[in-house]
């Protein structure tokens, strides 16, 4: 993507984000959000992060590549375990990176 397209992207996402933030405070003040939208909002984050994680770990250049002989999937697995146990984002990142470096030394 060229720089001009990236600038456009930043301003489009910025405008959309501001719209969401200002919508009920300013534009539609006095109205309530419809129930289906509130239900939908609950699942946006898990669906997004799952799709992004799967794509970051197992998609390489438009094709699925599950390379279990490389460190990253295993480092991600250890990180997921730490996240599940501790619920701590920083601890998850630290353990995941440490596992990555350790495996790179071994493999």
């Amino acid at each position: 993507m060229n720089t001009l397209a990236m600038v456009a992207l930043v301003f489009v996402v910025g405008a959309v984000t501001f719209f969401y933030r200002y919508a009920m405070i300013g534009l539609f003040a006095g109205n309530r959000l419809p129930g289906w939208l509130q239900v939908l909002c609950k699942y946006i984050a898990p669906a997004s992060f799952a799709a992004l994680t799967a794509s970051a770990l197992f998609i390489d250049g438009g094709a699925v590549s599950i390379a279990l002989d490389t460190p990253r999937p295993w480092a991600a697995l250890v990180a997921a375990g730490v996240a599940w146990r501790s619920g701590n984002v920083l601890a998850t990142i630290a353990t995941g990176m440490a596992t990555l470096y350790a495996l790179k030394l071994i493999l």
Partner: protein
Amino acid sequence: MHRAASREFIAGCRDEAPLLLGAIPFGMLYGISSLAAGVPAWLAQLASAVVFAGAAQLVIVQMLAAGAGLMPTALTSGLLNVRHLLYSASMAGYLAHLPRRWRMVLAYLLTDEAYAVAVLHYQAREASADPDMRHWYFLGAGFTLWFAWQLSTAFGLVFGAAIPPEWELEFAVPLTFIALLTLLLRERAGQAAAMVAGAAALLLAALPFKLGLVIAIITGLAAGVWTARRLERVA
């Protein structure tokens, strides 16, 4: 400034401070991974001011690094920010009496972290003083996070330039997504949404511009809503 106003402002800054512990490393990570993804430093900093939403900014960086197109990237990061509608709805009643410019500024500052602190303040304390000065508290909390976010982005960009690519620090971005995802998986319908979205992302990998990611997220959303409905009916 009214004395009550400055007292509220300072209290907002103070109560937001503990949340910076999470926000500052996140901002630095964003700065570092932006450079790794080939985003110019000035544009990464501009995005922190214009978008001002950490997770969405990381998504943009991640997708640019993977060669995604303009529309899929805008749709995915835009979709992730829909939750701000909920915050906006939840704050609307408290801010209804304010002039428009106040409401616009506070809306701009309505991040996850500022919302968390401000909504507690509004709920915990009735408008004891007359006039109600609690919007100054919100402003203090929001401004504190804004300032820390801009500064930590800048730090990340400065450090990022000095970090060799062999450190693979961009891997911290999917690790962040894993951490956030795990925190969200305590509920059955959320698990269904995540599993379907993850599987669909792989099945649709061949679609151009990472369009598969957008469709995967929407499919996951549908799975989440469907599962929640079914569980409701069984219970």
